[in-house]
Amino acid sequence: MNSKFLKKVNQNKPYFFQAWAIVCIAILSFIGFKSFLPKKLFPESSNNKNVVVDSLMLDAVAEGGNLSEEDTLSNKTIKFVSNPLGIQFSDEKFEQYKGYQYLIPFFEKLYQLETNKKGKARIAYFGDSMTDGDMIVQDVRTQFQSIFGGEGVGFVNITSESAGSRGSILHEYSQNWKAQSYLKTKSPLRSFGVNGSVFFAKDTANTTWVKYKAGRNRFSTTLNNPTVFYGSSKNKKACIRQIIGKDTIYKKLSPNSILNATQVAGDVKNVKVNFINADSIPFYGFNFDNGKGIHVDNFSSRGNSGLPLSTFNVDLMNAFQQKLGYDLIILQFGTNVLNYGSLNYTWYERKMTSVVNHLKECFPGAAILIISTADKSTKYDMQMKSDSAVVPLTLAQKRYAVKAESGFVNLYTLMGGDGSMVKWVENVPVRANKDYTHFNHRGAKEIAQLIYKQIDTGYQEYKRLRAIATKKAKPKKVVKDSSLPVKNDTINE
């Protein structure tokens, strides 16, 4: 027998046991490899200088990441002081803290709108990438406007990284704008606007322009009274040019005060504004509202931790408050501080407490509402679970809400608490994206409903308490509407 034939015979011999042995040895060697080879092939952190993170947060982490403070709040009951009218929400355990008492000025505005169809209300909604592209905020806006009236998308930036993903308004702009944002720039050429950004027409040779077109959302199908907001400058030659039909219309800009507003049109479907000789004027953005009901401005910036809000210039913000009249400031942050490496958030709590106090100075009379981080998942031992930093962060957020006398929405518990993000991502219908952090449109809508529902619960309770208080007060005939704690009645038209 030659060897070739032998080989052939060998090859046809059953090879079952050898196959089984291979599987067996492979499993054993896998267990061996597992014990000394790294557990993860691709580490999760990606240190990339081109990724958006706000610089103030990085500084804060660097200087005070290890602060610790005794916990004096948990298990405590928070008592509220009654307001001048005698309205006092009942005490709350820290666990369930919502802080409706601190939203009374805003509730009263809603009340006036609802019952007397009087006045108007405005919300500034600050956020991070969760509210990018007007996600969540557009649904909150629609909810409010369907009850309390009002049309328009509110304040919109001159240029925006998320213009493409925004559906509530279609937004285009020329490439020759210079934008500075409080996220990256420590000392801007001029103070940041209420949106945390300031824009300059850096090019005098080509026209610098911006274009808006109304989206299809309810109550935002028109661009209501587009008005450009800009700061002071020595440049008095600047004007804006619009082409409407066959006419070219020029309008002079007058950058005389710290904050100026020029209306560029009435109610239109779309608007394109060219800026001529507009160098050195700080531009902030366009406002779209119909002057009635309620308006919600979305000031989202990707990567924001909330700390940059401390860089607001008080005088300029007071001027914004004069012109726009904010009654409620919503702060929805947290996603960007979840992964900083420790579960100790004392530094964040301190910094944010001072941010909130700073905002009260910037926007006198406005109530503040803190929305906690949503659930976010991380993989632990092959399974996606709620990130261990979520609960400590929501506690820190609740603590600064209490300390700075603000309302509080615990988004983490509202969306279902432990493990909820996994469900939002994996259950049908899908409500969050595969990064286990951001919501999709369906999820954002649901989140907006949850937030609105909590505010509305407080508002309904406010109406009940108000009725009782008015009844009590009536015999004395002392309390008039004017004595209500609405400090901000000087709304500029």
């Binding site: 090859q11 046809n12 059953p14 090879y15 079952f16 046991f17 050898q18 196959a19 089984w20 042995a21 291979i22 599987v23 067996c24 040895i25 492979a26 499993i27 054993l28 060697s29 896998f30 267990i31 061996g32 490899f33 597992k34 014990s35 080879l37 790294p38 557990k39 993860k40 092939l41 691709f42 580490p43 999760e44 952190s45 990606s46 990339n48 081109n50 990724v51 958006v52 990438s129 990018d132 592209g133 998320s162 493409g164 993903s165 990707r302 990567g303 992964n339 991380t378 993989k379 031992d381 092959m382 996606m384 994996e426 994206n433 595969k434 990064d435 286990y436 952090t437 951001h438 999709n440």
Partner: protein
């Protein structure tokens, strides 16, 4: 001591964990790339080898394991599998025994309607409700059904069995056990390849054997499949592709483009990787399943693509659907019905948009004209018309087979149209007339690039969750401008993803010779080394799977 080692390296085993191994959990189907399957297979395989000579007993043993395997993925629906097997087996016998052609046809029709009826109920009932609601503005309630895993695959296998009996290509199985073994055979049960009765049944009656060559091939397939499915496909999908397709407008045009390339390699790696594992596992058991993918993106034409992509499905569709509606010989009502409905629907859709934009109508009319031209320009118009219409039917229904959504129909239609266009192109420029010149290799490369991009374009419809999302992705890709700096920043941000994508494409496009050379290295290894290599691959799978999703990245340019 031993206990410590055990808990550290394997984990603590509690009664709950043991229970979870054997109880249905809809979130944890028994996939080939799970540790649980590996452990169960090791035990299963050992007894399988011992039973290799006891034919009937071994078959019952495999059937029980298969039913358990199916129960782990679909819960109580394993009874559906069992029930439909009983019915189909008896109908098969009936078709075989009946002598009158009319009765044969009747049995056949009944069986096909029954099988497709089940498939339709589970897969398409809510789709039909949705369409009806949209058309009539009604609010019909959706059915509360879940899709039993693999029903699309085993339904097609059952149909092939009966049609082949009807066509006298095979005899019915001798016993019910044989038939149940064929239908429930776990390696191909949930995701193919779709095994044809005439290829599989003869193997049941052969003496069971595996040679050294078979085992080498099996492990190579399993290793390749694991790398493709678990390392490349799963990682790039969760860390990049899914995110972009979730919200395309939040990403730069370049990211949209890369996500589309990413999905193209992802779906290939996912599908072919799982198929390869199935073929490999079957081979370990001594059964040869047909090859399902042949590096499809190397195709120089769309026709070639369909000879290399999901071969078991495309041959099934050709033999049982395309031929049944007339093939290239004649037209039938069924053959004309679906393309007719499709083009009428397309034009109505175009008209409904005419108030806001004319583009949909232009697209609708021009695609209908293009399709008509594919046979009007032919020398043999009538015959080409039958061919192309039947081809279109096949591709439309083939598209729908992938999932109940208009997107899959569009995907099928695009492929059907492309196949028809390629046919008429071939008629006017037949390959024999083309001489081999200096330019031939360039021309071939060009054809491959064009085919690849067409296929990648169609995948956008396949992947996007709805029509507007698909259009957004396409629109964004249209905005790509050359900006090397930006591209570099993105590539750095998604370093791992892009490396894996590159690896996927590199592997796809290197010459077959190189692959064979690498495989020969594995084959020439001693048994123990092979096992260690396999163990290393297991570790790779584990270490990739245990990485959490990469944090969300927003770039600053």
């Amino acid at each position: 001591m031993l206990q410590d080692w055990f808990s550290k390296n394997i984990g603590v085993i509690t009664p709950e964990i043991i229970k979870s191994w054997f109880v249905y959990d809809k979130d944890a189907p028994l996939l080939f790339n799970t540790g649980l399957f590996l452990g169960l297979f090791l035990v299963f395989y050992f007894w399988y080898i011992l039973l290799r000579k006891a034919n009937t007993l071994r078959m019952v043993y495999v059937i029980l394991f298969s039913l358990f395997f199916y129960y782990k993925s679909s819960g109580i629906y394993f009874l559906l599998l069992l029930g439909s097997a009983v019915v189909d087996y008896n109908l098969g016998n009936l078709v075989h025994r009946t002598s009158s052609i009319i009765n044969k046809r009747l049995c056949l029709t009944f069986s096909i309607i029954l099988n497709l009826g089940f498939l339709g109920y589970f897969k398409y009932s809510n789709f039909i409700v949705d369409i009806t609601n949209n058309l009539t503005g009604g609010k019909m309630a959706f059915f509360d059904v879940i899709l039993p895993v693999g029903i699309s695959f085993y339904t097609f296998q059952s149909i092939s069995y009966i049609i082949e009996i009807y066509r006298k290509e095979i005899e019915p199985t001798k016993r019910f056990v044989d038939y149940l073994f064929f239908v429930s055979f776990f390696p191909q049960l949930v995701a193919g390849p779709i095994v044809r009765a005439k290829d599989f049944l003869p193997q049941i009656y052969q003496k069971l054997n595996v040679t050294q060559d078979d085992i080498n091939r099996a492990f190579l397939l399993i290793i390749g499949g694991l790398i493709k499915k678990t390392i490349i496909s799963d990682y790039i999908s969760i860390n990049f592709v899914d995110r972009v397709f979730d919200l395309p407008n939040a990403y730069t045009p370049f990211e949209n483009l890369m996500a589309s390339y990413g999905y193209t390699i992802q779906i290939y790696c996912d599908f072919s990787g799982y198929s390869d594992m199935a073929i490999g596992v079957a081979l370990l058991l001594g059964f040869k399943l047909p090859t399902n993918f042949l590096t499809p993106y190397k195709s120089a034409s769309i026709t070639e693509f369909w000879r290399r992509w999901h071969i078991s499905l495309s041959t099934w569709l050709k033999d049982f659907l395309y031929i049944s509606v007339g093939g290239n010989r004649h037209g039938t009502f069924a053959g004309f019905l679906f393309p007719g409905l499709f083009f009428v629907g397309l034009i109505i859709w175009g008209i409904s948009f005419s108030a806001t934009s004319n583009i949909p109508l232009i697209i609708a009319v021009s695609s209908a004209i293009l399709f008509a031209l594919t046979f009007l320009l032919s020398k043999d118009r009538e015959r080409t018309m039958y061919t192309n219409v039947n081809l279109m039917t096949t591709m439309l229904l083939g598209g729908l087979w992938h999932g109940a959504s208009l997107r899959f129909i569009i995907w099928g239609a695009l492929h059907g149209l492309a196949l028809a266009v390629h046919k008429i192109f071939l008629e006017h420029y037949p390959p024999v007339k083309r001489k081999i010149t200096f330019f031939t290799p360039f021309l071939k490369t060009f054809s491959i690039v064009v085919t690849f991009h067409f296929v990648a374009f169609c995948w956008i419809f396949f992947r996007a969750k709805d029509f507007p999302t698909a259009l957004q992705v396409i629109e964004n890709i249209g905005k790509v401008t050359f900006d090397f700096n930006q591209w570099l920043i993105i590539a750095q941000g998604y370093k791992n993803v892009f490396i894996l994508m590159f690896l996927g494409y590199f592997w796809h496009y290197i010459p077959q010779k190189v692959i064979v050379a690498i495989q020969n290295v594995f084959i020439s290894m001693p048994l123990i080394t092979k096992a260690i290599v396999l163990g290393l691959i297991f570790w790779l799978v584990f270490a990739t799977a245990s990485a959490g999703p990469q944090p969300f990245i927003y770039f600053q340019f």
